[in-house]
């Protein structure tokens, strides 16, 4: 299962996802500059990404907690912004396109 990740400089690369891991973990381990200060607890909004293509609609809707936490993110784009620690890799996310949001 692939994640097509784009960094803040606009460089795109394919990264292999792992079932049950969060997109944040996969991107961070692949060297993307994602702070993820709280370590994936949906408590800091520093793993903010834009989900592009039609992937926002394909994903399970964000939880109340994630919607609340996005209020602390910068440059939120409704219909695209997600916290990558809350997107879990699975066969259903194969090919997902995400862009790391500005700091």
């Amino acid at each position: 299962m692939k994640i097509i990740g784009t960094d803040r400089q606009g460089n795109t690369k394919d990264v292999e996802g792992r079932d049950g891991w969060s997109v944040m973990e996969i991107l961070r381990d692949a060297g993307f500059d994602i702070a993820a200060e709280c370590g994936g607890a949906c408590a800091c909004a520093t793993c903010h990404v834009y989900v592009t293509g039609d992937w926002y609609e394909k994903l399970p809707a964000p939880s109340e907690a994630e919607i609340d936490m996005l209020d602390m993110a910068l440059a939120v784009e409704p219909g695209s912004s997600r916290l990558s620690c809350q997107i879990i890799c699975s066969e259903a996310t194969d090919g997902i396109q995400v862009t790391v949001a500005p700091e």
Partner: protein, 347 residues
């Protein structure tokens, strides 16, 4: 007026769980500590990011929240009388002629110590800065004008056109508090909903209904004006496209993020924003300067609170030999040593 420098044994940068536990381990060895932290209370990430979230991997505590752990650590170190300098950022560190360190803070505090312990986690918490081109030209512009990440002098905003961005408690609280004195007050947020307390949201809605506050689902795309003198911003909304909005002051409230900060300028050898240490003493490559917790790195490092506790214990042994070069370190257990129990105030 500058106060005389404080003299102590150890100065700890960072009052998170590891900095706090270091007070305990150093205290058992009779070393006195001062702690500096940019936040206004102890706990670091534990209390700033996840005070209510449970932690399950603290040995002996099957479940504890970030706030509870910090409360317990504060109780545990109480006998040692550490001095806290909250709301201060450690800004400069220099070695004195006598071999001791002098640490300065942005509040003008100067602390002289035999040993410096950096327990700063990922660095210092600082306000999130919106990614708007040129925003830095409008920061530090003066009271009541330009970009402010906190309100220190409320009165300075009287009669100003104020723009607030964000959807949390700070954004809503300052909307409510500044609306009565502002010439105009506009709140922008990316959605028509807020994570702030419900009663604050209700108050804001009342002000909006009364015409005292304007609210737009929008975000700031550009800032206009001479450097230091904000005149207007470009707002972009979902439906109305982009428009210009007159503003003297822009107050973005998106919480805090962690930046390494001035530690990078201390002359410490860094590797990817971490301080390499040895695993016997947890000392950096600069003698007398130690790093424990998330800020350090060594082969096999795990960023766990329990690892930081271990690091604090070993660091303290090494620190003792620097602070008390002529004394013999007596290794004792709190269970059996009446001497240690006296220090803890339990015997």
């Amino acid at each position: 007026m500058t106060a005389a420098p404080i003299e102590t044994d150890v100065v700890i940068i960072g009052a998170g769980p590891i900095g706090l536990f270091a007070v305990f381990e150093l205290g058992l060895l009779d070393l006195k500590c001062h702690l500096v932290d940019i936040l206004d209370r102890p706990g670091g990430q534990c209390t700033e990011l996840y005070p209510e979230k449970p932690i399950y991997d603290i040995p002996g505590l099957p479940i504890v929240t970030g706030q509870e752990l910090v409360n317990k650590l504060m109780e545990q170190i109480k006998p040692f009388g550490a001095q806290f300098h909250f709301g201060e950022m450690a800004t400069a560190l220099e070695r004195q002629a006598d071999g001791r360190w002098k640490l300065k803070t942005d509040a003008g505090t100067e602390i002289i110590a035999h040993v410096v312990v950096v327990a700063a986690g990922a660095g210092s918490f600082q306000p999130k800065r919106p990614p708007v081109a040129g925003i830095e030209h409008f920061e530090n512009a003066g009271d009541g004008i330009g970009v402010h990440y906190a309100v220190r002098k409320m009165e300075s905003f009287r009669g100003k056109n104020i723009l607030i961005a964000g959807g949390g408690d700070s954004a809503l609280d300052w909307t409510i508090n500044l609306a009565p004195i502002a010439k105009s007050l506009t709140l922008v947020h990316h959605r028509d909903g807020f994570r702030a307390a419900q009663h604050s949201v209700n108050q804001m809605r009342e002000l909006e209904a009364a015409g005292k506050v304007k609210f737009h689902v929008a975000s700031v795309k550009a800032m206009h004006g001479e450097p230091g003198k904000l005149a207007a911003v470009t707002l972009a909304g979902a439906d109305k496209g982009e428009w210009q909005h007159e503003a003297d002051a822009f107050l973005p409230f998106f919480g805090l993020t962690i930046k390494l900060g001035p530690i990078a300028e201390f002359g410490i050898n860094l590797h990817e924003n971490l301080i390499p240490v040895d695993t016997a003493r947890f000392e950096s490559q600069t003698p007398g300067l130690f790093a424990i917790g998330d800020i350090n790195t060594y082969p096999g490092k795990l960023k766990l609170i329990l690892s930081g506790f271990h690091e604090a214990a070993l660091m303290s042994q090494a620190a003792f030999h620097i602070a008390r070069p002529n004394e013999k370190l007596r290794f004792q257990y709190t269970t059996s040593s009446s001497n240690l129990q006296k220090k803890l105030g339990v015997s």
